[in-house]
Structure formats: structure tokens, C-alpha cells
């Protein structure tokens, strides 16, 4: 089995030769190619070279298109902070006031700013890996997307104190959200991962997610074909997991690093794949032995019912993470798979 077959088999609950292992590695590719991050995130061939090097070095069961939301903020007129040693970040949003978001021109995925660079990288990855390694694209969930237009402070204030305006901004930004997701699929992405901050317990309570954002997820997901995964963005999402089954095209959830995986499985039901939940931020400081032990612990907890993929929670794994820690994840996946007789 190749990675694509392994992952698709897991998503559909079929037997596989070994359990898949994911690691969110974007900027880490620069460690291997020697490229600086501003180049990597503004030049499609450089980004793809990083993914290719990561595949050759580690062989995780996915390749990832750029986890870079600053490109979206920039496409909406925001400013980007470029630093040599970190992923580009939004410096200033395009709209100074929340109401101004409604006047921002909607970006064209094929033409605006660096969005075409991401699409080109996706297309190049598809050329290299289609039906061999799953091509996964990460994009902000529709509920948190407006934070890239107006800033998180303004967005949170609008959601809390001006729900009518918040609803208008959600509707307005949804046009781009759907177009961007569909453009990524057309460029070759096999699966879309949505990091929905508003589904994270540390950001919004359950009733707020259920009342203000879940209906929006339902609406927008129904306009995007293809498999979808929802990510907790790293915190905790168990408080809303039971609300997610039935979302159009949802095939899996990336649990937060603070979530109890056994509880997550129970809440999610048996039809959706559970992914996670090593804490990406702690990976640089752990030893390889610790990563191996923590990986095995998660496998033993979450893998027995099936439809489980070992992986990290949160965003990009920091570049300071020792390569041995990444290999420890793979080794744990292989050891567990062998122990339960995968492929035999």
C-alpha cells in the first residue's frame, strides 16, 4: 500500500498495512533545503522542494500545501510581517474597523497576491504525488476567517457585541471561503483541513459555537465538495465534538492536544476518523524516547476501534524539533501496527 491508499483505507474503515502517521510540516522543509522562509512561502517551486525533501527524509503519510494564512490576510489588503526565521504572519488586517470588512474587495484565488503561489504549489504537489501520497490543504475555518480581515480583537468584539454585523461579515467572507476551498480542490488537493478557532474551547464556549458558527459551517461545507477534516487548532475541541457528525463531507477531526482521545472517540462516533493529538509546541523540548512513548500511548488509546491516524495537534511543527523526534512518531506507528498484526 502507498500512503494514499493507506490513508483512504483508514478514512473508510478498511484494513491497512500499517496505521498512517501525519506530521504538520511546512516550514520544517526549509531545514532540509536550506531555503529561507520568505522565499519558501512566496515561491511555489521552493515550497514544493521542501515537501519533497520531507517526503524523502521522513515519509509521513501526507504532503501539505502551505500553512500560511498571511496570504489570505494579504489578499484582503492586509500587511504581512516577513521574518527570516518564522512563517509569514499578518501584521495589520485590511480593515481597521469591523464594518469596513464589507467594503474590502473579495480576492480572486487565481489572481490576488500570493494565493496563486499556493495554488501552483498544490498543482505541483499533485503532479508529483497524486494517488501516491495524500495532498492535504489547510485553510482557516469559516468562523475564524474574518479575523484575517479585521484582526482577532475586532472580530471577537464584533461577534460578542454586534452579532448582526458579525453575521454580515460571515456571509461576505463566505463567498471567498468557498471559492478558495474549491480552488484548492481543483488544483489537486485530496482533502481540506479547516482550522476552526471558534470550535476551540479556549476561544468560544459550546453554546456560542453551536448558535453562531455551526450553522455557518453547515452552509459553507455544503458548497464545497470533497473530504474535509476539522482541526481544533491545538487547544481542546471535545466540548463540541458531538455536534460535528453529519457536517457535509466531514471525514475526520484533529483532536486538540488537551483533549482526552478516548472521550473524543466516544463523542465523535465510529464513522469519523480521529487524528492527533501530540502537542506540536512541546515537540522541540522532548526527547525522542518521550515522543515515542507518548505516541504509543495515543495509539493504544485511540487506535483499537479503527479510523485513527497518529499525528500532531496544532499548527506547523516548530523547526527546532529534532529530526529524531519526528522519526520517533513514525517508529511508534510502525511498532504499534506490527504489534496488532496490521497487514498480516
Amino acid at each position: 500500500m502507498n500512503s494514499y491508499q493507506r490513508v483512504m483505507g483508514t478514512l473508510s474503515g478498511q484494513p491497512v498495512d500499517r496505521l498512517p502517521v501525519f506530521a504538520v510540516l511546512g516550514a520544517y522543509g526549509a531545514n532540509l533545503t536550506g531555503t529561507d522562509l520568505p522565499t519558501m512561502f512566496s515561491h511555489a517551486p521552493s515550497y514544493v522542494a521542501g515537501q519533497k525533501a520531507l517526503q524523502e527524509e521522513f515519509g509521513f503519510d501526507l504532503v501539505l500545501t502551505a500553512f500560511d494564512y498571511s496570504a489570505i490576510a494579504e489578499a484582503f489588503g492586509g500587511q504581512v510581517a516577513w521574518c527570516a526565521d518564522q512563517v509569514p504572519n499578518m501584521k495589520r488586517p485590511g480593515a481597521r474597523r469591523a464594518a469596513d470588512a464589507l467594503a474590502l474587495p473579495l480576492p480572486d484565488p487565481a489572481k490576488t497576491g500570493r494565493l496563486p503561489v499556493i495554488l501552483e504549489a498544490t498543482s505541483r504537489l499533485a503532479g508529483l504525488y497524486k494517488e501516491r501520497v495524500p495532498i492535504v490543504s489547510v485553510l482557516p475555518g469559516p468562523g475564524i476567517l474574518p479575523a484575517l480581515l479585521v484582526g482577532m480583537d475586532q472580530w471577537m468584539e464584533t461577534v460578542l457585541f454586534d452579532p448582526e454585523l458579525a453575521g454580515k461579515i460571515l456571509d461576505y467572507s463566505a463567498t471567498f471561503f468557498v471559492a478558495w476551498a474549491n480552488a484548492l480542490l481543483e488544483a489537486g488537493a485530496d482533502c481540506l483541513v479547516f482550522t476552526e478557532g471558534m470550535a476551540t474551547a479556549t476561544v468560544a464556549p459550546r453554546q456560542m459555537f453551536a448558535g453562531q458558527f455551526l450553522p455557518h459551517l453547515r452552509d459553507t461545507f455544503s458548497r464545497i465538495p470533497g473530504p474535509k477534516v476539522l482541526s481544533s487548532t491545538g487547544g481542546s475541541m471535545n466540548h463540541v465534538l458531538d455536534l460535528l457528525p453529519g457536517l457535509d463531507g466531514l471525514v475526520g477531526v484533529i483532536a486538540g492536544s488537551k483533549d482526552d482521545l478516548a472521550q473524543a472517540r466516544q463523542l465523535l462516533g465510529s464513522e469519523l476518523t480521529l487524528i492527533g493529538n501530540l502537542d506540536n509546541l512541546t515537540l522541540p523540548a522532548l526527547s525522542a524516547d518521550e515522543v515515542y512513548r507518548m505516541s504509543l500511548q495515543r495509539l493504544r488509546t485511540a487506535a483499537p476501534p479503527g479510523r485513527y491516524i497518529l499525528g500532531n495537534a496544532g499548527a506547523d511543527i516548530p523547526q527546532a524539533t529534532p529530526a529524531g523526534n519526528l522519526r520517533a512518531m513514525l517508529a511508534a506507528g510502525a511498532a504499534y501496527s506490527a504489534a496488532i498484526g496490521c497487514g498480516s
Partner: protein, 222 residues
Amino acid sequence: MNPRECSELLLAAMINVDRPGAAEIIGQALAAGITPPRVIAEILDPAIVQLGRLWEEESMSLAQNFVASKIAEDALLRCIPDSRDRARSKGAVVIGNIEDDFHSLGRRAVGLFLSAAGWEVHDLGNDVPAELFLEKALQVEARVIGVSAMMQTTALNIRKLRRLIDARGLRDSIKLAVGGAVFNWRPDLVAEVGGDGTAHNAVGADELFLRLQADLPGEVAP
């Protein structure tokens, strides 16, 4: 209603993200003759302390914390119309996100809570060079500088500010508070960047800044 009952109601309003309800509670307390300083000390402060405990237990969301900080700001503005009144202030502080860091939400919450607690807050915003922190602190006679960073890469930029403070011989005049998500994950980073202390959340900033200010030679603990 006595101040304790008012404080409990105020806390409930904060938890229920009920900003209008909180304003009504503060209004009723003032109308009942509770003086503005007592409203802050006996109603607002205890609610904020309780809120901090809930945050520590991870039973509060950012949305609830955000509304709570707004409620605290509302109450402050009603009770101390001019929050820059130095006679009432605990002192001047300078806060901001260190150079290359653009994650402002935590810092803004810290600013609101410090203001609510009676500090004269000078918020320099995001992406602030080390030199500017020190320049502003000297200008406004701040005894504590609070620097926020979300990620390890940007947190390391705080070392420059530490070096500047030391090079100017100001180690015994200005304390350096550091905070942000990365310090909660890696407490050892506080010492690595030269911080004098940290708080796990915005609510704990008042206590931290008071402690750091009291540690300075010539300062009298409150």
C-alpha cells in the same frame, strides 16, 4: 445589596458574557451609595480574582475572558473617569508585543485588566523594538515593562531589551515582566529571555506587576 453580593453577581455576569447586566450591577452599586473606590476594591477586584481562578482551571474561554475584560474596563471608566489620574494610580507601566510579534489579543487583555486594577498603562502595540520600550518607560517613569510574545522565535527578541536595561544600569529601577502563550508552555523561557516574572493570564498581571514593583529598592509593598 452589599458589595460582596454585588461582586458575586458581577462575576456571574462576566461568566455569562452579559455586559449590559454587569453595567446594571455597577450602576446599582453606585446608586446605593457605594463609593467608586469601594466599587473597584470590593466589587470589581474580587470578581477579577475569582475569574483568574476559573481561567487557571481552564473553565473559561477567550470569549468569556474578553467580555470580562470589557466589563472591567466599563466599570473602571465609570468609577475613575480619568484613569490617568496619577494620585489614584498604582504606577505607570509600559506594555507591548516585542519586535516581530503581532499577536495582540493577550496583550490587550493585560492592558485592560491593569487599567481596571488602577495602573497607568502605556500600550505601545505590536512589533515594538526593545529601544522603544525602554525609551517610553523612562519617559513615563514606569517601574515595570510588560512584554508579550506568542512564539519562541519572537520571545527570544526580548533578550535585547534585557541587555539594554542592564547596559543602562537600570536593573534596580525597572523590572521586566514577560508573558504570552509560549511562556505557559515553556516556563524556563522566562529566565532564558531575562524576564523577572510572568503571569499565566491577563487576570494575574496586576498581582505580578505589584510584586515586581515592590521588589525594587526603595519601593514599599502595598
